[in-house]
């Protein structure tokens, strides 16, 4: 898959519609967005009467949509998580609720939705210069992950690359230098990950690090620095050392490079889709498609 259109096409080819819980579902735009997803069965949690009104407004009829009437956002999330625990839904979408409330109920230990792998967030971009999909991880959750966590985060990204049918993902482990500097932890982690990849401990991947961004994206820049790298100039996964780097990296690429962006949460038992303002609404449908594809694995 090389574009968001490819992802949507793939999701539409699935025979069974996925059951996607939206908790809570209050606003018109969210309901309208769901209208574009012909490959899901929406399960809406919210004010029953209001939801029926919205459904009639958007679709002409409230039939064909499962509605769970609940009194407030907390009840909506609680009910959706319960359904998830019993395998009744394929995917959970954050609705009209604050990030902190959603986080505290869905990502808390004991919610039953965590897989045991650290939570991470992959920003997936239609990367204009290379006309293909590129992932950046982790862009949201991990402030300064341990090496052990970094390995897990990278393994999850590699699994996601396989879902996107990238057979042998090319991974650049980014750091401020292309040398190991013991004062800069990211360079040390990058060297270890790179060696693990070289020894096939991370599966069928091509990986290199530490690489600074110019060496990662430009063969000429790498040549000028005397760096010979197999991933230079053609990367599928940018692995960043911390969420601060990843968060801004993804946003700068997307907003200044006009590269459409979607996000994928890793580390949960079923796919969870966040309602992040930096992901354009038109790309929410791509996030849903990605979640559906993951749920069919």
């Amino acid at each position: 898959m090389r574009s968001f259109a490819d992802i949507l096409e793939c999701a539409r080819k699935l025979k069974k519609k996925a059951r996607v819980a939206i908790a809570p579902a209050y606003s018109g735009p969210l309901i309208e967005m769901i209208a574009g997803c012909d490959f899901i069965t929406p399960i809406l949690f919210g004010d029953g009467d209001m939801l029926k009104e919205e459904l009639i407004k958007v679709f002409g009829t409230p039939s064909g949509y499962e509605v769970y009437p609940v009194s407030d956002a907390a009840s909506a999330i609680f009910s959706a998580v319960e359904l998830a625990k019993y395998g009744k839904i394929d995917c959970l979408l954050q609705g009209d609720v604050s990030n902190t409330q959603f986080r505290d109920m869905v990502f808390a230990h004991g919610s039953g939705l965590l897989s045991g792998s650290p939570l991470s967030y992959i920003s997936l971009l239609e990367y204009n210069p290379w006309q293909k999909l590129v992932m950046i991880t982790d862009t949201l959750f991990n402030h300064s992950p341990s090496l052990k966590h970094s390995i897990k985060i990278l393994e999850d990204a590699i699994a996601q690359a396989q879902l996107l049918k990238i057979k042998k993902p090319r991974i650049a482990v980014l750091a401020p230098l292309e040398y190991v500097n013991l004062s800069i932890p990211s360079t040390v982690h990058a060297a270890v990950l790179s060696k693990m990849g070289e020894r096939k401990q991370l599966g069928d991947v091509i990986i290199d690090g530490p690489l600074d961004i110019d060496c990662a994206v430009s063969r000429e820049a790498a040549r000028r620095k005397g760096v010979s790298s197999k991933v230079s100039g053609d990367v599928d996964i940018f692995f960043v050392s911390d969420m601060e780097s990843g968060f801004s990296f993804a946003q700068f690429l997307s907003f200044l490079g006009r590269m459409p962006m979607a996000g994928i949460v890793m580390g949960t038992r079923i796919p969870v889709i966040l309602n992040m303002p930096f992901v354009a609404y038109e790309n929410k449908i791509v996030e849903i498609a990605l979640a559906i594809l993951a749920s069919h694995l």
């Binding site: 735009p29 402030h143 750091a175 401020p176 230098l177 911390d242 601060e244 690429l253 966040l274 930096f278």
Partner: protein, 308 residues
């Protein structure tokens, strides 16, 4: 004063006066020497080459730079080259120093030693300036090169340098975005706490000469607090701040070099108490490095005007 809005304005400023003296540290590499030659020919600088004379002469010969009248100061070790060149800047023998084929860490170390002697600054930082098409001012990303994980005091010093630069460029009240990855979905990082503290500390000033944006990310700045769905056609770049304060070195390195991907132009420098130091990346070509020299020369001229 008319504000400096883009790198063309910088280039114009660089030739509005006699050439300034530049110490080129270890300029024996091809792109570095080509930079010196071009900066000399354009009338930006009178170079003084600090490094291994044999290597310097050899490379000068290869690129046909006539060294007649150009001072060459013999130093062979990287640490000595950095020390000598930066010392020349701090003693007023030159107006600018520029990095050649030498590890950057040596130069930072030399600057910090000289600043300590002077007793003026405890922290130094790299300001990376971006010219973005459609944005009517230059944008500083800082610190992009020195502090691995700046603490609160270091962030204040970094802001001071960037604000000084923006004031020199004629922006009376630059807007600063303190970047942070906090969204409420994740645990609160120090960057977000520092952002709040900075805003609180400076909000009570009677005549503030800079201001903070409300949001702490590029998306916050561009989308505001609308909270409604967006698409690219509705994003406005008019609200771009003048300064992005970057949370750590890893982020700084990535963001500052996005010119390899994005349609932006980049020039970087360190502002010391005694003048600018140019720190090009080893992957930069002479055409872009000479732009950084022009930036340094422009800053020297602007500092002279303000008697700094």
């Amino acid at each position: 004063m008319t504000a400096v809005r883009n790198f063309r304005d910088i280039d114009v400023l660089a030739v509005q006066g006699p050439p300034v003296k530049l110490a080129a540290l270890a300029a024996h590499e091809r792109e570095c020497m080509l930079t010196i030659k071009l900066a000399f020919e354009r009338g930006y600088v009178i170079p003084c080459l600090v490094g291994d004379p044999e290597k310097i002469k050899k490379m000068a010969g290869q690129i046909e730079l006539d060294l007649t009248g150009i001072e060459v100061i013999k130093e062979k070790e990287s640490a000595d080259i950095a020390h000598r060149g930066v010392e020349m800047l701090f003693q007023g023998e030159v107006d600018i120093a520029s990095k050649g084929h030498i590890p950057t860490a040596f130069i930072y170390k030399s600057i910090i030693i000289q600043e300590k002697r002077l007793g003026r600054k405890k922290n130094i930082s790299v300001n990376t300036l971006w010219e973005i098409p459609g944005v009517d001012h230059l944008i500083s990303l800082t610190d992009t090169g020195v502090s691995i994980a700046p603490n609160y005091a270091a962030k204040k010093a970094i802001i001071r340098d960037a604000v000084l630069l923006m004031h020199l460029f004629g922006y009376a009240r630059p807007r600063i975005t303190v970047l942070s990855a906090y969204t409420g979905m994740n645990q609160m990082p120090a960057s977000f706490q520092d952002a709040g503290r900075l805003k609180q500390e400076f909000s009570g000033k009677p005549k503030p000469d800079f201001e903070f944006t409300q949001g702490n990310s590029l998306a916050d700045v561009l989308l505001g607090n609308r909270g409604d769905p967006y698409n690219f056609s509705r994003v406005s770049y008019h609200d771009m701040p003048h300064i992005f304060l970057i949370p750590n070195l890893d982020a700084g390195n990535i963001l500052s070099k996005l010119d390899f991907i994005l349609p932006v132009a980049r020039r970087s420098l360190v502002i010391t108490s005694k003048g600018p130091v140019i720190i090009p990346s080893r992957s930069d070509m002479h055409i872009s490095i000479v732009g950084e020299i022009a930036l340094g020369v422009a800053v020297v001229r602007l500092m002279c005007k303000r008697d700094l």
